[in-house]
Every structure is written in C-alpha cells, then in structure tokens.
C-alpha cells in the first residue's frame, strides 16, 4: 500500500472539503491509503477503512500572515510541517498535498525534503495552452520570489525534468518570460539569465517569450522569477474567469442563455483551475502539491491523481483529462 500524506488544515473551505476528496480517492483506488493530518474527531466521522488510513493529530496551522521560518522553529505541531516530516521519514509515502500557506510549505519542504545540490525548491504550474491538450509548465509561480540568474537556470532544469517525466516530452523547449521576444529585451535578471540558458547543456532554450504568448505553446517550460510567474498564473485565472462570467451575463441579456452556458462550460473544461490548479513543488525528494486555498474536493481528487500517476509512471493526461 502506498500512502498520500494530506494536510486537512489551511484550506479556506475547511477540512471537510479536503476529506470529501479523500473519500472519493479511497473509493476509486484500492491500492492507495492516506496519512491524514488534522482533527481526529472530524476524520472519524467519515468512517474511512481503518487499514488504509493513519491519522496525525493536530489543530495547529499557520496563515499567510505568519512568518514561516519563525513558525517552523517556534510551533511544533503545525499541520503542514508534520505532513512534510512524515513524507521525509516514511518510505511508503508517495507525496504530500496541502492547501495551506505557500511560505510555510516552502520552508517545510526545504527543511525536510530538499534535493541535494538544490538551493531551494520551485513551485511550478501546468497551464493549458492554445494547442488543445498541450500544456506549458510555468516555473516558478510564487515560491522563489527574489532570485538570481543561476536560480532561473535551475528552474529550467527542474521544469525540463518534470515535463519529460509527466508528459514524456523528449527535449522540452524552454522559454524565458520577458517583455519582448528579442534577446535584448528584459529586466536585469532576464538579461543576465539569457546567455546562461543559451550556453547551458541539456537545455533546449528557445529564447524570450512575452506574456501575450505565454500560453501559445511556444515552449514546454516557461522560466521566470516567482513574482512574475505568479502574475502569469493568476492573471490567466482572473481573465479566464472574468470572460466566462461575461459570457453568462451576455447570454442572459441576449436571450441566448443556453448557447452561452454551453460555450462557458467548454471554456471551463479547458481552463478548469478547480481541477488542474495544483502547483507542483520541484526540486524535492517527494512530490509536494500545493492546492489553492480555495480548493474543494474536486481539486483534491485531481491532485491525488497527479501523485498516483507520477508514482505509476503514467502521464497526467492519460488519467486526468481522458476520464
């Protein structure tokens, strides 16, 4: 039996949304168990099969307002840290899922799970592109904010390895997020990184990519600092969501409600951040998935599926999108 370690605290929707997801995964995957971190009384209510779950009792969490390093040293029962510690110590675990504070997840991952030779992990997001069924992995999306050029080169390697593994792409094309496609365009960081990526062995560097083409599938891995990558990820989510709302509104006004709903539904299936919104920690020994704070059961199920696929060497698409 392989176990997924899951942190039930830290989600905006409360532990039940997470436990609903766990229930569904247990029902559909007989060879998977869970190590559930949280309130045992609440977990007991679900009557999960006793032989497939283990509970780590805690009620303590950290918020986005807490200093994660301070929390790590001062609070010894924080759910996110207990989950990561368990994954580092227990060989039967295949990964960790949390919807909690990114900073704490980062600090805990560094302390317990960081790969040798890495300075810090990166948080990647796999986004849908204009080529149906094709994705681009944006790295970093918010874990490593103030970074230097050598860290961006590291992100290029991490993203390439990940896309090779999850999507079986032989030589992933790596793009560098910039403000224009020309090699001379960019901020100081991008200008310093460009020649390094050009010279780097085992990186299929395709040059600068501007934001308007970030999701045009011109690259398989889009490298950027965590602040800019967070903008790419979240602006995409925001604009897609605003446009979808606008379509529904327009449908009502124009008497084409059904067609509008059909089109909106199609776009939601493509840009479905509820089910594909998990960010993936790269550069760590076990796979760590960060779901959005607002994640519901569906997001949790999808995150578990990614862990199961990575562990069984199936591609993400084979299991998640073809369902």
């Amino acid at each position: 039996m392989k176990y997924i370690v899951i942190d039930t605290l830290g989600s905006d929707q409360g532990p039940k949304a997470i436990l609903d997801g766990v229930k569904e995964v247990l029902e559909n995957n007989s060879d998977i168990g869970f190590i559930i971190v949280g309130d045992p009384k609440l977990i007991e209510e679900y009557n999960f099969p006793k032989d497939r779950i283990k509970v780590i009792e805690t009620y303590e969490t950290v918020t986005n307002y807490d200093n994660p390093v301070e929390a790590f040293y001062k609070k010894d029962k924080v759910s996110i840290f207990l989950a990561l510690k368990e994954a580092s110590e227990n060989d039967n675990t295949i990964g960790v899922i949390s919807s909690g504070a990114t900073g704490a997840l980062m600090v805990g991952s560094i302390k317990y799970l960081l790969d040798k030779n890495r300075t810090r992990p990166a948080l990647a997001a796999v986004l849908p592109t204009i080529d149906e069924g094709k994705c681009t992995c944006v790295v970093d999306t918010g874990a490593s904010i103030d970074v230097g050029p050598h860290q961006l080169v590291e992100f290029a390697h991490l993203g390439s390895e990940f896309m090779k593994k999850l999507y079986k792409i032989e030589s992933p094309r790596v793009g560098l997020l910039s403000i224009g496609s020309e090699s001379t365009k960019g901020n100081k960081l991008v200008k310093e990184t460009y020649p390094l990526l050009e010279a780097e062995e085992n990186i299929n560097f395709v040059g600068n990519i501007e934001g308007s083409k970030a999701l045009d599938h011109l690259c398989d891995v889009l490298v950027c600092d965590g602040f800019s990558g967070n903008q790419v990820l979240k602006v995409t989510q925001g604009v897609a969501s605003n446009l979808i709302r606008e379509i529904i509104k327009f449908g009502k006004k124009s008497g084409k409600e059904n067609e509008a709903k059909m089109i909106a539904g199609h776009l939601i299936s493509l840009y479905d951040f509820e089910s594909s919104g998990a960010a993936i920690m790269l550069g760590v020994k076990k796979t760590v998935l960060k779901c959005r704070g607002s994640s519901g059961a569906k997001a949790i199920v999808s995150a578990c599926q990614i862990l199961i696929n990575l562990n069984s060497n199936k591609t993400y698409f084979e299991e998640v999108f073809d369902k």
Copy 2:
C-alpha cells in the same frame, strides 16, 4: 489649429496603416492638424489638406534590437526622436503618437519632454475590468523595468493624476500588484513599497492586489514595476485572444457558429486591444501615446481621440466608448 505629432515609421504594418488612420481623423475633426514624420513621397499620395499638415522628412528608424541611448546620440534623423523634439519645441502640438520601439520612445521622452522633478516617465495602460465600462490604469507596463520603491510611489501619483483627469475620479484607489492581498506578501520591492504608499499623502492606497484580481476593479490605479506590469497587460491580451479563438472554434464544431460569433464579438468589444491598446506615457510635458507595433488604422484613430479628449478636457469614455 492644434497639431498631433505622428511617427509613421516603426509600425509592423508599415506607414500606410498609420496614414489611413490620420486620414480618418482629419476627415472627422476639422480643428485638428498633423505633423507627420516620415517619407514625404508616401504622405503626398494621400492628398491631405495642405493647410492642416506639416511633414518632417526622414527614413531612419530604430528597432527593438538597437540600444536606444546609443541611437539617440549617434543617429540624428530617427523618426521617433524627431517627433518628440517637435512636440517639445512647438507650442501648438497636443501630443505625440508612435508605434515604434518602446525603449527609444522612453529615451526620447526623457531627453525632450520629462517633467521637472521626475526621474523618468512611466508607461500606463488602461484596461477594462469586470465592472462594465470601468477601467483600471496599470502603471508601469514596460517603460521602467528595474525600479525602486520610490519610483513605484511616483507611479502611484502619476496614475492617480491621470485617472482624475481622464475619468474624473475624485480620489482614485491605488493598489499595489503583489502575489497575495496580505500586507506581508510580495517580493523585496513590493514589501519596501507597501509602507511608503501607506504613509504617502494624497494617495488613496487600498493595499496589495494579486494578479487574479488585477481586473476586478478593486482599484483605479494598479502600481507595479514595468516587467510585472507588462505581464499583466500582455497575459490579459493573450488569454482574452486565446479564449475568443477557442469560442469561434467551438462554435464551428458544435454547430452554434452564429451564437459563438455573437459572443466572441461581444468579448472583442470589451477587450478590444486594437482600439484601446495604446499605452500612455505619464510624467511628461506633452501626452505621448505608444501604440502597439501591430497597430492598424483603428488603433491610430483611437489614440488620436485620446489626445483630442485630454486636450479638450472630455473624458475618454464620452468620446471613444459612446461612439
């Protein structure tokens, strides 16, 4: 007669796209003339009324690959620089329009038109939000790339003044682009800027805004460094354009082509970057509008209308959107 200085070189679509726009503006605005920078032979073909145009002859331009500072000192006939010089010296001009290289426009604006007390201009873009008819001014969007906290405070003032003037907003709400709404979130620059904006007089600071809410009209002015702002602007354009293409494709496949076209048309009218895509240089003595390199006649007409409105103290909406 008030004159608009227009650079006809530097557009990806060639000078004719620009001159087609000039023609339309001349036909619809009897009190506006043009100072046209470019190839006199080409301009002559249009038979513009002689008393309303003046031509500055040149064939020289700079590309995004040129170093703009070097170009400024070594090339003395560059269209973009000649246009800005004319605006600085001729009291009858109301502004400058160019689709050329942003870097060159920036350097020329600093040399000829920079306001006293400003370190450098900012490039703002006015983007549509989820509140119909309401916009947010993003500043900077690509002119000032590697900036410090005091420059972001300056952007807040420039954006506030601009939104007061163009949209008659009494006390524009200023947001700071970050990776979360909490005051503790952000990169080094954002964390240093936050307390400065909080303490700043005459700034209605409403806190951090994350990318997913950049266009939710939570603020009237969104302050950010030029690299991140460029991502907000261009990712918005890219995602909107990808979704609109997807709607058309889906319409064809599902036999709902007409409804899909209707919905796509509605979204295009809201997110119409061809007509509202001009970026506005702030912190300069004359209004300088930077159209996208791909701008056609429609974008030029719209940019001229902004200049005419700003000059006549009308709001942008009164003239552009209500037409």
